[in-house]
């Protein structure tokens, strides 16, 4: 029998052959369900990150006039009752600037509130006493600014005072700086401020599309980046064969240090390490290898600017924008029993925006979670999830330490 004839007759036998298949529908159904859940989760996370970014933007843009997080004016501090004698037996009166500095914020707020009620006050609460009253006395009376009684209960000056015949210099409205009542609250120290220099240890997960959903179109940029832009051509070239590339979830770890710029803004920088794994078809020495693994190792330096719009001793919420430059320090292909390494030139640039929440469970240590959107620019880097899906949702979690 001639060879071609033999082949043809075998083909005729085998081409139309059918036979009952083992029932694998249950496994297929489970696999489909797993993939469906993955797709739903991915869509949800992308939507959540996008919503978070929009919310952060909205908060930044439409934030109303600041009240500075001040404690409401305690209306109870000013009493019409005469002050007890011992309260007036103060030691030497401090200079006015010290009095102002020592004046508790609540008391000053109360004085300020009182001023609006009774614009031309005749008496002023002695600051120290006012502060004590705030702490101790729940008061129901209408706020009225009262003039402290500078004398003893009997009205006689104390003889042991060196200058008992002169009136004591107590804090009055006239002593306050001219701009005191119009001064911006922001310039006052915030008792709730948690915004200090920090060091962070972070890890990062990024969402990827499901296996096979991305169609890879080979481009010159990938090949040229691996060959070093005109240097000796590489032995390995990704090709578009019958299998779509698969991308595994990228992992990032890092260390960052943050410094406050103002009471609301901070800047952070540090170093990160990212590990990316992909699987796609390659040509190696002109031979096709399907499903080769590509491993990329990136070291990067991110710089971020954050705006802290919620700051309490335990909780912080902020919005951030960031940029990063990453250098691929290692690229490795694994296919069959072969392993090949290649150098990668250039930097991977990216931009990021998102919001973050931090929780300080002890004064100097906290955890944080930063969902964000990251965009990886086309910088002629090797094929990876970053080149195929430049816009990604990123979820960074980590520990923060105040330093």
């Amino acid at each position: 029998m001639v060879t071609n004839d033999f082949d043809q007759r075998l083909r005729d036998h085998l081409e139309g052959v059918t036979e009952p298949a083992p029932d694998v529908w249950e496994g297929i159904s489970e696999g489909l369900e797993r993939r469906r859940r993955k797709v739903l989760f991915r869509r949800f996370t992308v939507a959540a990150a996008a919503a978070a970014a929009v919310l952060a933007l909205a908060l930044l843009v439409f934030r109303g006039p600041r009240d500075g997080g001040q404690v409401e004016a305690p209306v109870q501090i000013a009493q019409t009752d005469p002050a007890p004698a011992e309260a007036t037996q103060a030691t030497d009166i401090a200079p006015i600037e010290e009095q102002i500095a020592a004046l508790p914020q609540q008391a000053m707020a109360a004085v300020r509130t009182s001023r609006t009620v009774a614009p031309k006050a005749t008496k002023v609460v002695e600051p120290v006493k006012a502060a004590r009253q705030v702490e101790e006395e729940p008061v129901e009376t209408t706020p009225v600014v009262t003039k402290p009684d500078v004398s003893t209960p009997t009205g006689e000056p104390k003889t042991e005072e060196p200058q008992a015949d002169e009136p004591k210099h107590l804090l009055t409205e006239d002593d306050l700086p001219a701009d005191y009542w119009t001064r911006e609250e922001a310039s006052e120290p915030s008792h709730n401020r948690t915004h200090t220099s920090q060091i962070s240890i972070l890890s990062n997960l990024t969402t990827v599309s499901s296996d096979g959903n991305l169609l890879y179109i080979p481009s010159a940029s990938h090949a040229s980046s691996q060959s070093g832009k005109g240097q000796a051509t590489t032995d390995i070239e990704p090709i578009s064969a019958s299998n779509a590339p698969k991308f595994y979830v990228p992992l990032t770890f890092g260390l960052q240090v943050a410094f406050p710029l103002t009471d609301r803004f901070s800047v952070a920088t540090g170093v990160t390490y990212s590990y990316l794994v992909s699987q796609y078809d390659i040509l190696y020495k002109k031979v096709l290898y399907e499903g080769a693994y590509n491993q990329l190792h990136y070291v990067g330096v991110p710089v971020s600017l954050s705006y802290h719009f919620v700051q309490t001793p335990h909780l912080g919420v902020y919005a951030s924008v960031a940029g990063a430059a990453e250098k691929c320090v290692g690229q490795r292909y694994v296919f069959g029993s072969n392993v090949a390494s290649e150098k990668v030139k250039g930097l991977q640039w990216s931009a990021k925006a998102g919001i973050g929440v931090e929780y300080w469970f002890i004064p100097h240590m906290g955890i944080y979670f930063d969902p964000s959107l990251v965009y990886f620019f086309d910088n002629k880097q090797p094929l990876s999830i970053r080149t195929q899906q430049p816009l990604q949702a990123s979820f960074e979690v980590g520990l923060r330490f105040k330093i």
């Binding site: 033999f6 075998l10 052959v17 059918t18 036979e19």
Partner: protein
């Protein structure tokens, strides 16, 4: 049964469209319609033991990629390519193609097959004979004879030289002819 009626009334276009939209019923009907066709393809490449796994994996890939089918060429042919690729991927995973014993230790026997012998053998028996070939010979035989690839293409797909592809095909033919003869004489 309503399921049976549905199976018979769905057109191929309906099934493709349903599967592309994730309709589980359409997916099940497509599976039932094509599993008996695709299973022998997997058996030809992998033998009966591994074919079941690849049948499942292949259908998952089909449902994943069915949205990319543009109606060019036959749908069955498009599906078969997926199953062939899945089978080759599996073979590559275990890296059996790099074992040279397939080539070196397979004696070239064969000889001329008498006229009419092949007609006495059933398709299922031939399928089992092909599935029983050493993996390297089986892969080359399937790609060259059944899928119509050239030796250069077979070499590229399997990571072997063109000459090696020719050599393995020759050995595969010889081995098959020998086994067919034995089967024929055994059946007589």
């Amino acid at each position: 049964m309503s399921g049976m009626r549905k199976t018979s009334t769905y057109t191929e276009e309906d099934l493709i469209s349903g599967c592309a939209h994730g309709d589980r019923e359409a997916q099940r009907i497509l599976y039932e319609r094509y599993a008996p066709v695709m299973y022998p393809v997997c058996v030809r490449y992998l033998g009966r033991e591994d074919a079941k796994d690849i049948l499942q994996e292949g259908f998952l890939t089909v449902f994943d990629k069915i949205g990319t089918y543009k109606g060019e060429g036959s749908f069955e042919g498009w599906m078969r390519k997926i199953f062939v690729n899945a089978s080759l991927m599996h073979i590559r995973k275990v890296d059996v193609l790099r074992r040279t014993e397939d080539i070196d230790e397979t004696p070239e026997t064969g000889g001329v097959l008498e006229h009419g012998v092949l007609e006495q053998i059933s398709s299922r028996e031939i399928l089992d004979l092909v599935a029983g070939l050493p993996v390297g010979l089986r892969s080359v035989f399937n790609l060259f004879v059944m899928e119509g690839y050239s030796h250069a293409e077979v070499g590229a797909l399997l990571g072997i030289t063109e000459q090696s592809s020719r050599s393995q095909l020759s050995r595969a033919r010889s081995l098959l002819q020998e086994k067919i003869k034995q089967l024929y004489h055994g059946n007589k």
